[in-house]
Amino acid sequence: MKPMVEFKDVMKTYQIGTQEIVANNNINFTIYEGEFCVIVGPSGAGKTTILNILGGMDKVTEGKIIIDGKDISQYNLKDLTLYRRHDVGFVFQFYNLMPQLTALENVEIATEITKHPLDPKTVLEQVGLTERIDNFPSQLSGGEQQRVSIARALAKNPKILLCDEPTGALDVETGTTILDLLYTTCKTHNKTIVLVTHNPIITEIADRVITVKNGQIQSIDLNSNPLNPKEVQW
């Protein structure tokens, strides 16, 4: 199996005034292509910092991050922009759709700038929004909005899909269908998915579970028998 994400001795510190605060220290892990990886931990554990670094939104202080063989820790701001543009699909907790754009246009906003995008309409059909493509976010339910957000991330045809608490703002039932959509995407399209959550139950569907605590990795577990989201007892 091909390693898709590699963190090597990653450290991230923040300068607040004269004080240096260590957010992450000694982070080492590898995620392979097509894996469904869940990063779990209580709030303040440092999982958001990992997500920011992985998503190319922030730079590391020390260490290496290899994405599909390329070391993004050496990237400058411009390279990072291109990395976010072509290699990362981002699914937000609060969907972050543009209110003035329809579902279709919200997908197009991402595909417009990428090199090898998928057809926005087809992707929206895949996520089950065939009937809703001309609706504005305000006319969609939370679950539907998150589907648009996933479609937007997928249509970029990225190397990895990053999800920040994708079910955090949804009820259990809707949350399950969203997780199912991500799960299916991962399995049928062999897409690498990294999902960050504080909810330990979600780890049951993951191939790989990285547990973060106090800015460090507490454990990395491989799930020999990941469950389908529909089978999970929420």
């Binding site: 939104m57 922030d58 609060f94 543009m98 209110p99 754009l101 329809t102 991402a110 990428t114």
Partner: protein
Amino acid sequence: MVVKSYLKYIFKDIKTLASKLIAIIMIVMLGIGFLVGLLTTAPNMRFSVERYYIDNNAADLVIQSATPLTESDIDNLKQRSEIKDVMPYFMIDEVIKIHDVNRMARIMLLNFNENIVVNQLKLIKGRLPNPNSEHVEVVVEQSQVYLVDIEIGYQTTVMNQVFEVVGIVQHPWYFAYVQEVSPLTQRPIETMIYTDESFLADKTYTHLAVTINNPHNYNLFSQEYKDYMENVVDNLEQTYNSNFYYTTRNQNQSYVKFQNDVKIVEIIALIFPAFFFLITILVSMSSMTKIVSDQRIQIGTLRSLGYSKIKIMNKYIFYALMASLIGVLLGIGLGIYFIPAVIYNAYLNSYNLPELTIAGNFLMISIISIVMIVAVVLVTMISIGTTLNEKPANLMRLKPPKKGKKIFLERLTFIWKHLKFRYKSTFRNIFRNKRNLVLTLIGVAGSTALLLAGFGIKNSVDYSGDYQYKEMQLYDIEVTVIPNQINIVSLNDYEKIYLMDYTFKYKNDDYINVVSPENNLLINDFLNFKNTKRHEILMANDSVLVTQQFAIKHHIKSGDTIELDFQGIKTTFKVTEILDYYFGNHIYISKNLLEISYPINYNKIYVKTDLKDTLAIENLRHELNLDDNVLQTSFDSDIKAVFEKTSESINSIIIVLVVSASLLAIIINYNITLINISTRQKEIATLKVLGYSEREVSGYVFRETLIISSVAILLGLGLGKLLHWFIISRIFLDGVMFVNIIDWLSYLITIILSYAFLGFVYFISITKMRKIDMVEALKSYE
């Protein structure tokens, strides 16, 4: 306890809201500053000259008598209740030699032994004459364009007596650079000399300088004052015989010129108020709305803690009141002296003016200030009102972004489907936030209009001068001669035409110069006539050509008949064309029509010299001055120089106009862009996460500003054209009007400037946008 903590809360908040409150302070300050400055300029200019009149006890009226005035005449006048002071003096216009040149001098004999009561001379340099000195000591009027420079210590012989100049003075009736003409000979006065009355052995008085009691304290430039003076003169005329000739200030050239110039300032300044108020109110409204929406959660908390709506509202009213009050005070401080001084000083090139005095203008400033403060407070109450009417529970959440919806343009599928995606998004955004749309449209259109109007006024002034003095008048000198003494030796070698130019009476109360050339064909080489449609026309045997302003004033159209009156002989003429003409009122009538009723006496010569050399021009001027038959010479170059000075003075107002419009444009653009960015932080952060580059993100946000502004600029050009026309048509003074024209270059500069301000704000906003952290995208609305 509660009150104390509430007050603490108010003041604590001021710190966090400082930047937005400062925006309100700034816009109010600028608005008030320019408003107060511009609106008080004309009153202050008038006030300064009024003070100058009062300080020097300037005459309201000069009475000239055909026969020597007697003591009883004077005493009689002094008894009259409407008359305050009377000062008799002797005045004569006499040719004297100064620096070996014959100059027309106005000599006034005053009583320097006693204080001069009326028309006190202001000593500029040197000292006043000593009546008891050995030879005659004199003071001379300060030099200017039309008055020669004579230095202190200069001696010359007048009527066999030696005159020595001991001082330079200024007479309160002669503060403008205008040409005074000797009424008897029609020759221009080239110097004014004041000396003691002991110069003449027998005391004869020819003139009386009179001040009038001003029982109602009429403003000396007001219509009431003029009406009152007319009344006084009427009464005097009824009492005394026709022996007296009366000159009020309204016939004093300095007074009239100054009044006209101030009128232009006043008309141009009047275009500001509405726009400035509108902008200040709109900007305050958007800033205040932003403050309230930023504080939703706090407002919600206070509401749920049981604070009344009024108590919460009071806080914001307090902010609005404080900010607008500070802005008003700063604005008054900034505008009250600075702007009037800039404009007033610009007029020093054509006047010997006293120092600028700032009148209180208390009422006007109070009204402007109060209206501004009330407007800002009202606007604040409206924006809080809507927020306070929401349920406290709703207030605890951030306001969700406005909903997107289809816009009208989408129904035009044939256009919409060809639009690029980014433009679709832009167009929806434009209509999503209507308040921003309106603010940008009004702000940018308004400032563009002011810019274009400003540049346009400059074009109009310059074009009118160029047209009149370069395009239309093809002659170089206008020589006034003693009637029928047209054989002027020094003009023998030049191309010339003889004309008759007399003042005719029109409709009992107006006068017009009737000009008739010796040859209808030849005149077309000296005057390039054009009608109001700017078509060239030639003078022919049936021609009666009326200049534009006179025609507008009396509603005369071509084809109309007009009746003219010369010394009681009335004749009607059929007007053939109205002339495109800007300075002066004339009727050009063909000689064969005029000579039917009137004798033709030539008294004017138009001369073409083509002289370029200054020395040659001065030589010719010298020769003409020496010629006894020449009454007056008017060189084209002199008139152009005077006109250029007026044009320069008007420039100062235009600069104030352009600077204020520019500052407003920048503030409006900046304000809108800041609000735009801060309400869309999350959108911007999301775009960054999606991999949009800095440039693409700013394009995404700025594209709509650019589109709205472009529409606004286009609107502004139309509006500016209208505004310009409005101003130009109102500048319709006696003998002065300006052409309604705007150069294409002015359009271009206006467009470039308007986009430059946008560009400037764009660069500021790019740095603001760069600072937005992508982590914002991960935060919630809730």
